[in-house]
C-alpha cells in the first residue's frame, strides 16, 4: 500500500521559488539578449511630417531607424557628398568602426569597413574614390547632442565619406569639423551600437543596414 505523502510547507515554498526562478531566468535571458527590446523604432518615417523632406535621410542601424535632417545651407558641399553616397547605396553594410560610449559613433569607411571584407589594420583610413572635399567650418553651428559631422584627418580639406554622430554636446567641434546635419529621431538607437570597453575601434562591429534619403 502506497502512503500518500503530503508536501510540507517548506517544500511547497521551495517548489514555488524554483518555478519563479525559472520564469525570471527565462525572461531575463530574452530581455538581456535583445538589447533593442525597449528602444523606440521609427520604422515608418513616411508618417512623420518634415519641414524639408528632401533633406531627410534614414539611417537603418541594428536597433532601428535613425532620422537625420541634412543642412545644405550650412555645408553645401558636405551635404552634397553625403547625399551622393546615400543615393548610390554606398553606406550599406558599412561598419560603425569607431564608437566611444555615450560620446560618439563614426562610420563610413567605404574601402576598409565593408561587411565581409573588413580590414581591421586599415579601418578608418579608407576612401570613397570620389576624392576629398573642402572643410566647411565657417558658418555658426552648435555641436549639440545628435549633430552629424564629416570626419577628416588632422588636416582640413580632407573630408570624404566618413561621418560621425555625437551623443553628447561638443562645443569644441564648432569650427573644427564640417557639420552636415542633426539627428531628429533615434538617438537612443545609436547608443545601442556596439562599443568596446578599452578601445575606440571595434572588433566585430555593428553595421549600417541601409542609409537612404526619405524621398529616394
Amino acid at each position: 500500500m502506497i502512503k500518500k505523502i503530503k508536501a510540507s510547507t517548506l517544500e511547497k515554498v521551495i517548489f514555488i521559488f524554483l518555478i519563479l526562478l525559472g520564469i525570471v531566468t527565462f525572461t531575463s535571458y530574452i530581455v538581456i539578449k535583445n538589447e533593442c527590446l525597449f528602444i523606440k523604432d521609427y520604422n515608418k518615417p513616411n508618417n512623420i511630417n518634415f519641414k524639408n523632406p528632401n533633406n531627410i535621410a534614414i539611417l537603418s542601424a541594428p536597433c532601428g531607424n535613425v532620422i537625420i535632417e541634412l543642412y545644405p545651407e550650412i555645408s553645401p558641399n558636405g551635404v552634397e557628398r553625403i547625399k551622393t553616397l546615400i543615393r548610390s547605396n554606398a553606406y550599406e553594410n558599412i561598419a560603425f568602426h569607431r564608437v566611444i560610449k555615450n560620446k560618439l559613433i563614426q562610420a563610413g569607411d567605404l574601402e576598409f569597413g565593408k561587411k565581409g571584407s573588413l580590414d581591421y589594420g586599415k579601418i578608418g583610413t579608407g576612401k570613397s574614390g570620389l576624392g576629398t572635399i573642402k572643410s566647411e567650418i565657417d558658418n555658426n553651428f552648435n555641436y549639440t547632442k545628435g549633430s552629424v559631422g564629416l570626419a577628416r584627418t588632422f588636416k582640413n580639406d580632407t573630408e570624404d565619406s566618413q561621418f560621425f554622430i555625437i551623443l553628447q554636446d561638443e562645443p569644441l567641434f564648432e569650427g573644427e569639423y564640417t557639420p552636415v546635419g542633426k539627428v531628429l529621431y533615434g538617438l537612443e538607437i545609436l547608443k545601442k551600437i556596439k562599443d568596446q570597453r578599452h578601445s575606440e575601434y571595434i572588433l566585430r562591429p555593428d553595421f549600417i543596414n541601409s542609409f537612404k534619403m526619405l524621398n529616394q
Binding site: 560610449k101 589594420g121 569644441l172 573644427e176 568596446q196 578601445s199 575606440e200 575601434y201 572588433l203
Partner: protein
Amino acid sequence: MNLLRAILLLIIFITPVKANTIYNIIKIPNLEIYEINTKNKLKYFYATAPFRLGIQKNIVCSNPNKKDLEIKYQTIYKNLSRYSYDYLKKINLKYIVMCENLSISELYTAGIPDNVMKTLILDIKFNEDYFERVIHHEVFHMIYLQYREIFNDKEWIEFNNTNFEYAKCSTCTKNIGLEKYLKTKGFFTEYSKSTASEDMAEVYSHMIYLEKNEIDQIRKLDPILNNKISYIKSRIKQIDSSFTF
C-alpha cells in the same frame, strides 16, 4: 606575417579610449576649458596638471594657480582680442593653452606655437615686464610658421649692416634681453639679434605694442628698422589686407 598582423591588431584594440575632446583635438593632455565663448572664437584652455609633449617629451609645462590664471587671462584676452576671427583663421590660431614654467629641452620660453594644431602655448609666469608684448611676439611665430614662403630670411638679413651676423640659433646666444633699446640702431632689443625670425617677431610685436607715433618716430630715426617695419607691414597685408597695426 601572421605574427605581424596579430601584433598590429593587438595595438589597435588595446588603444585606450581617450574620450577627452580637448586631447583629441590638440593632443595636449591635462587641459580644461577656461573660456571658449569669445568674440574672435579663440578657445582658452589651462593646464590642470603638468604635461609633457613632443616625441622626446622635451616640452614641459605645469599647472598654474587659479589666482595667477585669473589675472593673466585678462591680459592675454585683452591682447589677443585685437585680432579678428578672419585674421586668426588665416594665421591658423585657434587654441590658447595657459600654463606655468613652460620649457623646451630645459630652456624656459614664453610660448610655443604650433600652427599644425592651431595652438599657442603661453607661459603665464613669463617675465611680467614684457609679458604683453611677448604675446604678440609668439603670435608672429605662428604667422611665420604658417606663411614660411612669404617671410624670406635672406631678404631680411640684407636690411642689416653688412658686418652684422645673427647667432646660429635663438638659444645659441646669451644675449636675450627684451628691454627696448633707447637708441635702436636696426634692432628693437638685444634678443632681436639672435636670429632673423626672432628679429622679425620682435619688430612685429613692437609694431603692435607701441603707440603709432612712437613707431613713426623710430622709422624717421632708424633707416634699418624703417625697412624692417615696411617689410613686416607689407607681408602682413599680403596675408590679410584689412589688418591694421
